[in-house]
Amino acid sequence: MATTNNHAPLFSGKYYKELLKELKTIGIIFAAIQVFFGFLGAFGIGQGLALLVFGTTSGGSLSSNIYSIFFIVAAFNFYIGHIARNSWDFRLSLPIAKKTMIVSHMAAVLTYAALIFVANYVGVLIGELVRLIPGAGGGSVPVGFGEQAVSLIKALLEGVATYSGLIILACIIGRFMTLLIAAGSALVLPDLFSGFVAAVRERGLNTLSIILPVGIRGMKVLSWALLVFGAVALTVIAVVAYSKHRVETSGKPARAPWIHILIGLAFAAAAGLLAAIIGAAYYWTHYDAALDNKGVIIGPIIAVILVMIIAYFVYMWISMKSFKGAAKRLMFLPIAMLVILAAFPIAKGVDKKWEKLDFSASNIKYVRVTDAAFGNVSGIYTMIYDFGSVAKGDSGVYNIKLTDPAVIDIASKSAIEYKALGDGDNKSDFLSNMISGYLTASIDIAEITLNDGSKWALPMVSNEYTSGLRNAALNNSEFIERAMSIDRVKNGRVVDPDWLGRDFSKVLIGELEKLTPEERASVMYEFSEIDLHYDGSVIGGYTSVTPVDQDVYATVSLASWSYDHLIKVRLNDKLPESSKLYMQKSAERFHKANDFADMVDRLKSGKYDEVYGDLTFIGGGQTEWCNIASCKGEYSGAQEKMQQDAIKRLGEILENSRGSVGKEKNIVSFNLNVYSVDGAAGRRYSFNFGSGFFALNDKDFEELKSIMLNAFSNNSYDEIQENDV
């Protein structure tokens, strides 16, 4: 009697084609979305949107997050078509084995995933072509193809894991709402899995690294391996889960013993672990003693096992709704106990290895350092990013091997301190650190290679050692030479603001090339006794530098979240070319604004209700900053008249500046807001020009300066500051 489906094929081409038709609408919609976001990505918009929408850019870009959503939708497609009650009669009566159904569905989903992958590149390609059109944001190319591919492949693997995970959940629970909540969680926390993997990769001296001391690169490989393994394992489990799933028992896991036992054990193990953590201090204290005296260990172990038994029993009782049935299931607990007991010899082995770890300076062969060990080094690079070239640079930086005794000494002290957390009575601290580390993910790392060749990722948890190692590394010519290599960004292009264009990045890189690696490092790391005039509050912005003489630099920091306005200007009379160029382009852009003329007209005619803003005079070796305060209703008639005259003249001077951009030496940074109300219509007009640069002739410059100092010096809103260079 032929009775099984063992000979049924895993994959059915015909059924696969049918599923392609069923998934067609979903696939096309997502492909279209990916074309759109790929297009946006070509202009560097994806990551900002991802940050806005998902609160993270860890997925790489919005494209990769959208990619993940596709897999969630695909999982729901499978649920509705193959698992939901309405689908049973139709789908399960077909002469197709269940394993064939799910594998074919997976194949169809992956086919559309490939299409969506390609669609993203089509979008990027279209964006790239559009960028070639003058004035269409030609200066910005943030998306490196390689980086995008890596991001999407990561999203693909995570998506497959999510898709399979949801199918497994659907097979176990079978409830739409549960699935919806799970999918929502996956959506809200898109980087949950990758965060865990990153934690595994980036945590040093943890249990895993003791078992597998593979170093930073090894951990990176391991993280990818874990991701691939996770996706594959979940896929296989999903196939088995659906093949074994009996629809009529949905919501009653008592009828699927194998999965019931698995969940019960997992639940019990989790409860046991929780119990172990709660009693960690007591546990670890006794654990050490237990290695020598088996009698002492019995108490905590029994306590943990008891918790597991109770948790398992309660879970079974609730899920089976049968006390008797739950009691029967306890027969599986010996297996659970064996699993727990097996952990102890492993722990003992790990402990022995742990004790032998010697991080003394004499036992350290060398230390590798990464950019990440010193915080954000990107600074200038974020301005001229090309993901592809940076990725190459990254791998180079990872290879920096330092044998400097000072570096080794600091790394040794840091490692010994960190290891001490895991020693003796402090093991509970170590454990809690480790667990919290897993939850909070990344920490900067250096890599220590011992004399026996084993590599250890060292978390730079102490500021003292982090800065110490940083300083030591920055004194190391090899690190400086490689980390500060301009080759890393030589082919980079400006990300933001896109109106800066390619010529700006060339000028900037040209200036950087003239600096020595040490000078660049000084600027980037604020690491020097030299006064660099570097504003540390700048957020990921642009710092252009140029040597003026042996010791002094002129620095212009033009940076903010949006790169739209000036935060601070410090310079001397030798303004860097990149800064000039920035100002010129900014001024051009300002003058091109459609409502510039309207604003000037209103200033000149007095048709406004309120004017406020600030002016910054740049030039002549000094910077002066003036507030233009609100000038209606709060002043005496004489003051108001004087201010109105001043503002009228201000309009004339601004008008004069038109066309002189870049030709004059007197540069003014200008941030002006003009409000007016149309009395008849009752409409309020607002002109907010943000910031812009104006190059003025000597006469206008002096007059404007005089106006500002005189016209606004007598009211309470007036502030004048002078900043020395």
């Binding site: 489906n5 049924a8 309405n86 009669d89 084995a97």
Partner: protein, 299 residues
């Protein structure tokens, strides 16, 4: 041939199918009748391989069915299309789907049947009335040319014209291709003139199974009058299921060989004798009574 042996299926505390044993021969229209919740649909789903039984066996030509594609190749479960397809699916789209899955699917037959029912293949399923959906189910199921077709209350509620068309198509399917057709209904009248085999399902068990003609000929009603007084004892030699006397008129429900019984009664020299046919419902009522069931409770 479908062989069901000691089949049991339980949902929670409810035994939907309870130690059921029966044989469904090839090439017949097998009707299963029972009240809602009797276990008819569960049995069909077990036969179709949608459910897996808790115990017992169910085989088609020796093969088990659950998750067994080669056995399922011979079965089509005519399921509710409204619940299974996307909103945009047309009858033709569903035909394409079945054609992909069932090797013997015939587009020629599909188009012919669609024209018989007056349905347009390009019509969207979701736009169809309930009756049209059921007709579509029938068309698709018959077009698969499977050895066995399962209809779960598919013909209940069809208008008389459509029902007659459907019945004729089923007859032709059985005659031409030797197909076995299983039909369930909660109404005996729906199946009365369709099936050649009938089973009554009650609380997960088949309480009565017989061929329809046999049932009808084995049970019959006789109206009699004698010149003298006769009581029930006069008919002791007969298998009397019911005896009623009003004045000199006696109404009997007899079970057994009709011709032989008729000859024996004639020999008793009645002044009036008339043999009347029983409706299937009456047959079932009396049969149930003899088995200790009350037909009204079962249906």
């Amino acid at each position: 041939m479908i062989q069901i042996t000691n089949l049991t299926k339980t949902f929670g505390q409810t035994k939907a199918v309870d130690d059921m044993t029966c044989t469904i021969p090839d090439g017949c229209i097998f009707g299963m009748v029972g009240a809602n919740g009797a276990g008819k649909s569960t049995l069909l789903r077990l036969i179709a391989g949608v459910y897996m039984q808790d115990s017992g066996t169910i085989t088609i030509n020796g093969e088990t069915i659950y998750d067994n594609p080669s056995a399922k190749e011979n079965i089509v479960f005519s399921s509710d299309l409204m619940r299974t397809v996307s909103s945009g699916a047309t009858l033709k789209r569903m035909a394409d789907f079945y054609a992909t899955v069932y090797k013997k699917f015939s587009y020629e037959k599909f188009e012919h049947l669609a024209s018989v029912f007056g349905l347009k293949p390009k019509m969207r399923i979701r736009a169809m009335s309930k009756g049209m959906t059921k007709q579509s189910q029938t068309i698709l199921a018959l077009s698969c040319n499977a050895k066995m077709i399962l209809f779960d209350e598919t013909f209940d509620g069809l208008d008389p014209v459509a029902r007659n068309v459907a019945k004729k198509l089923l007859y032709r399917e059985v005659c031409d291709n030797g197909t076995t057709i299983l039909v369930t209904s909660h109404s005996l009248r729906e199946l009365e003139d369709t099936c050649d085999q009938l089973a009554m399902v009650y609380k997960g068990k088949i309480v009565l199974q017989s061929d329809v003609e046999g049932l009808k000929t084995k049970l019959f009603k006789v109206q009699l009058a004698f010149a003298d007084e006769r009581d029930r004892s006069a008919f002791d030699g007969f298998d009397v299921l019911s005896f009623n006397k009003a004045g000199k008129v006696i109404n009997l429900i007899l079970k057994g060989d009709r011709d032989e019984s008729e000859a024996r009664i004639k020999a008793m020299d009645p002044v009036l004798m008339e043999v009347l046919p029983l409706s299937l419902e009456e047959v079932f009522t009396y049969e149930m009574d003899t088995m200790g069931y009350r037909f009204e409770e079962i249906m």
